[in-house]
Symmetry: C3
Subunit: 206 residues, 3 copies
């Protein structure tokens, strides 16, 4: 998991920010404090749990190290008490979310490579790690998940994972590769939101 | 799994009652006999399967021991032929469901501790075991799961799991601790339904 | 996985056809190219991944061998560029889908038996393998999954898995048993669509 010198702290930041997205969705859907906690924990941890279960790395990091649960529960508390403030901070939250997306894509792809997976499956597992939490979050409230609605979300995760695979193929320094992957994914995501980029639809449905 | 002298029998009772909830939901949604079976099996077994897969205890108990599948299939049959009777017995069914909730929370948390997890992750896995089956059941018919709608459902599971963690910390007799955990969770759930307790919502949304 | 001399090729065909069903659903829901890819990959691989994760056979075949991902991504491409043609070929696609259903039920049940599961759990895992991909696909777009709506879908998978269990019990040649299982499941599915067979509903709801 610790893909950077600051690895664990960045991972916990990503967990917290993803948890926040779950908690805020629960507040918008007028769920109570338990609903907020469940959605925050699911959004924060499901991606990493899917990654670890698919790799056979059990128990998942989210259960082996209590820090992750503390970060997820903390995000639920923040959403419960601070949702008005957080809703007003939508730009910083979007940027943190983009960084979380990059962190999870990079850590998922890197862990898959270290478990001996080939580059293509490692990239797919990186994307799954990055979008898994948000997908479980949206499915739980019966919404079509963001990865299917917001066009370039998965593409940003793909970009981050590709940088990791490329860096490993060229035998570059792991820490710098990871940093570059996170930066590429986050920057792409932020610019795509800012510019309103859209992906092509299938020919006829235009 | 066998947390009590009567462990396996109680576990199968919990499996059966959870299966019944899936089967009855399928009947209300006018699904056919296969839909009833699928929802009953999913509601009965998904929570324990999530627990075992997260712990790396594969194949899950539900597959390693055929009894669980027999109990789940039996509940599907009962829902198919006896749904009118079961619908009239809603009070006893609610009480059995509360006991099932307690049994699954206790068995999930106890198994997590025996696999060396820390108390906080063990409690979360206990809750996941207790609410997992119902959540998969509701997601399959595109409903927001009960754990997000019925406020104190997760809290009852939390209570049962906390008793197990506390008992383990104080080195109390495992059987009695488990019994106390099941009783606490079931009693809390029954009283909360009876009194119509509600959990707090986030400040503004009131 | 290689249940037949042609095992891997047939498995990849099943993966491709299931992926096509996900991609076509995404086109009908007017999702963009990433949504098409996500739904195609989920429909193609989720069933086999569930099977492998439940058996503790990690990383799942879909990640251990890049061919599966290539087949899934290929089906997404075909759906994106060829959806008008594919929509017109609905009869051949239905027949391929029925063969895919049989292949996945047989491979799931056979792999479960080879991992030492009892016949009843092996049959259930075969059905889960066959219907898992389509179920995840439908849940992702917030639809009630086909296994709950299309009555005899699960029954066809059950039939294929039963043939495998029976063949193993009678110690028959594995390759021929697998072929018979696929043929039985596919034939049953095709005839049931052709004749419009319906399964019984619970007594009152008629």
């Amino acid at each position: 998991m610790q893909v950077l010198p600051l690895g664990l702290w960045l991972d916990l930041l990503g967990t917290f920010v993803f948890g926040l997205s779950g908690g805020m969705l629960a507040v918008r859907r007028e769920l109570d404090v338990f609903g907020i906690t469940v959605l925050a924990v699911a959004a924060a941890l499901a991606g990493g749990m899917l990654r670890d279960i698919a790799l056979g790395a059990t128990p998942p990091a989210a259960f082996a190290d209590g820090c992750y649960l503390v970060a997820a529960l903390g995000s639920a508390l923040c959403a419960f008490f601070g949702h008005r403030l957080i809703a007003r901070l939508n730009k910083p939250v979007m940027i943190l979310d983009a960084i979380g997306l990059g962190l999870f894509a990079v850590s998922g792809c890197g862990k898959a490579l270290s478990f001996g997976l080939d580059p293509l499956p490692a990239v797919v597992l990186g994307i799954l790690t990055a979008v898994g939490g948000g997908t479980v979050r949206d499915v739980l409230v019966a919404e079509v998940p963001r990865v299917l609605r917001e066009e370039v979300y998965a593409l940003a995760a793909l970009l981050g994972a590709l940088v990791v695979v490329l860096g490993a193929a060229l035998d570059l320094n792991e820490g710098w590769t990871a940093a570059a992957g996170v930066a590429a994914a986050a920057a792409f995501r932020i610019v795509s939101v800012w510019r309103g980029w859209q992906a092509p639809r299938a020919p006829r449905s235009r």
